[in-house]
Symmetry: C2
Subunit: 342 residues, 2 copies
Amino acid sequence: MSAAHRLPEYADILDAARVIEGHAVYTPLLESHDLNARLGGRILIKAEPLQRTGSFKFRGAFNRISRIGRAARKAGVVAFSSGNHAQGVAAAASMLGLAATIVMPGDAPAIKRRNAEALGAEIVSHDRATEPREKIAEAIARKRGATLVRPYDDALVIAGQGTVGLEIADQLEALGLRPDALLVPCGGGGLIAGCALALRERFEGLAVLAVEPAGFDDTGRSLKAGTLLANESGAGSICDALLAPAPGEITFALNRRLLAGGLVVDDDMARQAMVYAFERLKLVIEPGGAVALAALLSGLYDCRGKIVAIVASGGNVDREMFFAAPSPHPSPLIPSLDDSDP
Amino acid sequence: MSAAHRLPEYADILDAARVIEGHAVYTPLLESHDLNARLGGRILIKAEPLQRTGSFKFRGAFNRISRIGRAARKAGVVAFSSGNHAQGVAAAASMLGLAATIVMPGDAPAIKRRNAEALGAEIVSHDRATEPREKIAEAIARKRGATLVRPYDDALVIAGQGTVGLEIADQLEALGLRPDALLVPCGGGGLIAGCALALRERFEGLAVLAVEPAGFDDTGRSLKAGTLLANESGAGSICDALLAPAPGEITFALNRRLLAGGLVVDDDMARQAMVYAFERLKLVIEPGGAVALAALLSGLYDCRGKIVAIVASGGNVDREMFFAAPSPHPSPLIPSLDDSDP
């Protein structure tokens, strides 16, 4: 079994941390008095919009691509992605001197497409509704002898994303905090699998919850059913980063062991969390990146009296799309406002 | 001479740091590979939009108000402000149990006004063009026996803002970096005076530059003339946080000793820096808060081969105003894009 196809372990995350050091951003764990007072707990936000390429995806891509052997490097890498993984792969490949080809849906946000192109990647468009992008990417990789860098079902990618969790653990410990729960946006499940692996090693008994968009709650339903279930086709969501068709085999094998369950956020909740982040946290978070925050702000998850870590996983949102979000005035989105010490 | 009216010293900043600890946010010093590659230097951004109330102003207000003696506390505090100082004073007063009255221009950004009100302050409106707001505030303070918390011409306020510089110095040292220059947005000059005091104590020979909006370059012109000059009236700017009529007496006494000069940024440069921050840094920065970044992006200050620290001083911008910024597409604002390692 190759390094990419086995189940990753905590030690793989420590390895990944060494590999990405000096290349990825060690992102801050932010805390907001306004958010704490509003929710009645202590909320720590891992700010991956501040990561290189604007999302956590760079971590896994860099870890994976840096392990490609000398012989295979010349043929380059191929990836399929709605955008953030594309940018992560394009940036990592370019830094490591490999050519990158990305299979991308034609309706991906313009900013994500532009950025992947600007990073020197070749973009191959496909129709999200009809063509299986994974098959297109596999065919290109086979033809060229290139390495396929999967977005989540790969041990080295999961270990790379797990460095988000490793940093959260170190940052919480530096603050003297022991978290009650960790909420993470979940598409294919790579980020949450890696984070759960890291944080449950360090904080026994921690509840890790997957947050998914309505219509794409495959991981939550799979956890409940105890078996891998795909999403019904046909649903749509503004959370373009979280629209994986089904949990990955490796990610689900980890997540069924490590997660406490799932929460489902609708588009309005995600949009309101984006607006809250803009107005109060002064952070640009994309819809899919804001679902964990949305689960707290909407009251889906009650964090009164708790210490809760959440991941804001990315910030690659077109300005136009962001501006279309409804104004919270004159009736504030979240009426209570208390900036006094919690 | 009272503690507020003398020239502050480095030791006052150390005192202020102890006073605000646990109340203010120790904000991150951010670095962006994209920005470094674009500008050919190492740029470190102190992210004060992430500060409590969304700007650095909370620091000075909390430091000042916490020193008000027992007898004077009952009468509360009065401040005049276009918005960020208002929010800082309102939040600090509320936390410390004092009533706050704020004299605010009628055309202040709605978000700033709303937030000050939500923090429990009483707002008194005035017309920016005709009424001298300082006089109104002084009259209210006299009548009530309340303490006037000036926005910049106060040693304790300057020392509080200086904690921004103190943190930058500590954060640079932790990274093993010695800065060549520090660029700071400048209105009345309190933030830059405090930062210059802290950073020039720690890094001898450091060049500190004030960045001001066109039409409000009073500090730059005063530095050049060697005497305190006011702005011509009549000019306007989107940088609402930086429209002080003239340098303060205390701030200019410090700044003439500590600063290397001034740079002038126009509204377009500030707007483009806001858009860059949104798209690449994933930070919400208000126009006045973005002028130091604008000085770099516009090429006004050449940072090739240099280590440059800048302050992003606040993020309180109405969404509507932000959305009005022109789109950088199809022709990118800053054409070069290189995400490879600098």
